[in-house]
Symmetry: C2
């Protein structure tokens, strides 16, 4: 077993991309909606485009231009933006249907190894979501996907968005650990970089198809992360769980 995580008793997980496959799930859920409103776009492209608004929309909050709002609020605004970009008129779509489609982010399928991996890791470590998702979204997603979190940490506790330091620090404090007693598990190098800057140990999970077959980012670890694996079951193996 790797000794880098010897003192660690809490694992915080990035969720979108690391634990669940948002792209194919959003595409599947959106497909009938797109057909109903004759929106001319491939559902997988639609999922990527919607997700593409994610970082810029959080950036308005990180920069202080805008007060914190939860991720469902941003996702709904971003949905309206992408629909308009395809030439659809979001004002002609009932608000309830837009809300319903936004809840696609609470019905994302886990990667095939996620539930088993988390269940095994949970035997030895306290495990929690450390995501930019809001608490209700993480709760509903966990129930949908069977993610056995001990606790839901992340953005809403600190009213900040990763990679801001406050998001990591507030969750570390909430779970009552020292930074070095925690590790961040993520498929994204920038997330791990910020986690390490805040004293956490790091576990990189390679998810080379998060963005589909043409993915160019996060195909490999960009730093000497403490653990590098290809799945959460492999993480459990590496950590002796």
């Amino acid at each position: 077993m790797s000794r880098a995580l010897e003192r660690v008793s809490f694992l915080g997980f990035d969720v979108f991309g690391t634990v669940v496959d948002w792209r194919t799930s959003v595409a599947r859920i959106a497909e009938p909606f797109l057909a109903r409103y004759a929106v001319q776009v491939d559902p997988l492209q639609f999922a990527s485009d919607w997700r593409g608004c994610y970082q810029p929309s959080m950036e308005t909050i990180r920069s202080g231009q805008r007060e914190y709002v939860t991720l469902d609020v941003l996702n709904l605004e971003n949905l309206v933006t992408v629909l308009a970009a395809y030439g659809a008129d979001p004002d002609r779509i009932p608000a309830q249907e837009l809300d319903e489609l936004t809840r696609a982010w609470e019905r994302l399928d886990p990667w095939p190894d996620s539930v088993e991996g988390l269940s095994r890791l949970k035997r030895r470590f306290a495990i929690g979501a450390l995501s930019n998702g809001h608490i209700a979204g993480m709760l509903n997603l966990a129930r949908y996907a069977g993610l056995p979190w001990d606790v839901i940490g992340g953005a809403e506790l600190s009213r900040s968005y990763k990679p801001q330091a406050a998001t990591y620090q507030r969750t570390i404090a909430a779970v009552g650990r020292l930074p070095q007693e925690t590790a961040m598990v993520a498929a994204h190098n920038d997330d791990l970089l910020a986690a390490r800057e805040n004293g956490m140990r790091t576990v990189f999970v390679c998810r080379p198809t998060e963005y589909g077959s043409g993915q160019t980012k996060d195909l490999a670890p960009a730093r000497d992360w403490d653990i590098v694996v290809s799945s959460l079951t492999e993480a459990a193996d590496a950590l002796g769980c």
Copy 2:
């Protein structure tokens, strides 16, 4: 099945007394400590006396005299107070031992029906701690006692203490429900009264030995609570789980 909870999809639980038996657990854990420092008190009496400081210590925060601190901070202060009241000198006890004993509140045994009851209720409802305990304490207690929470709500989210309205309201908002879509499950009439005032449905769980055989409070429902049961498995029966 009772229809009063038909629209409810989230159950918030009081924990100390309702889900776990703090009195006999604290007594058991404290016994060797009390013997080691020759503190002349029956361990069960000690547990009750320590718990007796609980409401007054939170009251300083509810009233605004003092800024919010987490329950472990209050429990440690109260431990020093009760030890001094028995004639012990807390300054002669290593701080680490006082901290360790304070963590007794994270190692409380569930009532015999709690784990099965929660597991059954979880099939139909999202379930969460809605306690005055802090997040880390609830997390560690859940792992010790096997409490399968979907989410940890309660005092720390709002930096307030039940029965303040903010504690209920913030958890209701965090789980993304309307008040009438939530229910409070508690062994304490005053907790349910405040929950009802904040729009929650109410489940009274009779725990007549929480304070031992001489208990005088909360032996029966003081109002027409929506559901009245004697255990969490009975609650699961009543709710068709």
